[in-house]
Subunit: 198 residues, 2 copies
């Protein structure tokens, strides 16, 4: 097998969800792409890896020291939404409904994977709250065992701030979900949090 092909297949197959067969298919596609498009792509990857920063205020990915959201004075800096990772922030942003700022933890507490509270960007959140402007913290982390542990830890850390409203996003049945396939825990929560039809 060609050394050049072997190298590219080996390197690509180290990416998550990419086996050797997919890597080979990607390589064949790369061969059909214009050279300049390939160069643009590899340059983007290198630039991203070497130059991206974590926002000093919220932990979001950023091109500069403070991210666009934290620098945006038109946003509501009294409300902080705590998310696990950048992709969650992007999902919330996509709704276009949230005007507050974020705190990106960079993971959840997981003794199994050796992730301790000190590995998460909780200090940024506490620093921000200590400055005195934050009125509400919305905790929007997944309802897994690790997520619940993280939620519990956060609640404990935030308890010392009086006058701070702490909320979590509602658990319930998603739009388009079939009740038949929803787990009992979610249904229980959805029943408990039922709303009067107006």
């Amino acid at each position: 097998m060609s050394k050049l092909l072997d190298n590219v297949v080996n390197d690509l197959s180290r990416l998550p969800g990419v086996g050797r067969r997919t890597a080979l298919r990607l390589a064949m596609h790369i061969l059909k792409m214009e050279r300049e498009d390939v160069a643009t792509m590899t340059q983007s990857i290198d630039d991203f890896r070497n130059n991206i920063c974590h926002c000093a205020k919220c932990g979001n990915l950023s091109d500069s020291e403070v991210c666009e959201i934290c620098s945006d004075t038109s946003r509501d800096h009294t409300t902080v939404c705590v998310v696990e990772q950048v992709s969650d922030l992007l999902s919330v942003e996509k709704t276009g409904q949230y005007r507050g700022v974020y705190n990106v933890l960079g993971g959840v507490i997981s003794p199994m994977q050796g992730i301790a509270p000190s590995d998460l960007k909780i200090d940024l959140l506490l620093d921000r709250i200590a400055l005195g402007d934050v009125r509400e913290v919305i905790i929007a982390i997944s309802a897994s065992v690790e997520g619940e542990t993280t939620l519990f830890y956060l609640m404990n850390s935030l308890r010392k701030f009086s006058n701070l409203k702490i909320t979590t996003i509602a658990r319930g049945i998603g739009f388009g979900d079939e009740l038949e396939y929803v787990d009992e825990h979610t249904i229980t929560q959805a029943l408990m949090n039922r709303r009067a039809v107006e």
Copy 2:
């Protein structure tokens, strides 16, 4: 959204089978990789795209003008296996059972996709046979409409060479395939080509 992140997600999501969500997941993985590993990967991609050649004898991908298989004098140069693409060649090689050489067409005849016989590397095959050393051509292309068209075209082109044995790989039920799920055409072929149990 960060410009650096946006660029990498846009570029990665142009790859086949990679949507924006997968591209974002890949970007997050790239962020966790060592910088030098990322640099090695992007360098492999660029090197592959810019320096890979097609073997002048068989159309296989190659680091030099003639590929390793065509340069290997221990192989049987009197038998040529015709395949559609490089991944098919690699699949045959993986069996470890084939000692002949190859001809990689680079596709199949497809009027729908505008692929004419002249777009395929059939000339390399004809040149090779014209040199007089080839005794058997094994046609190993997929049993699709385009594959059958290509087979028909190849048979016509090869007819002029007398004393040339032309074969196709056997169609039948694969190991582990359940008869219940195999299409009738394949079963018909498998029945017609039945073998005496020895």
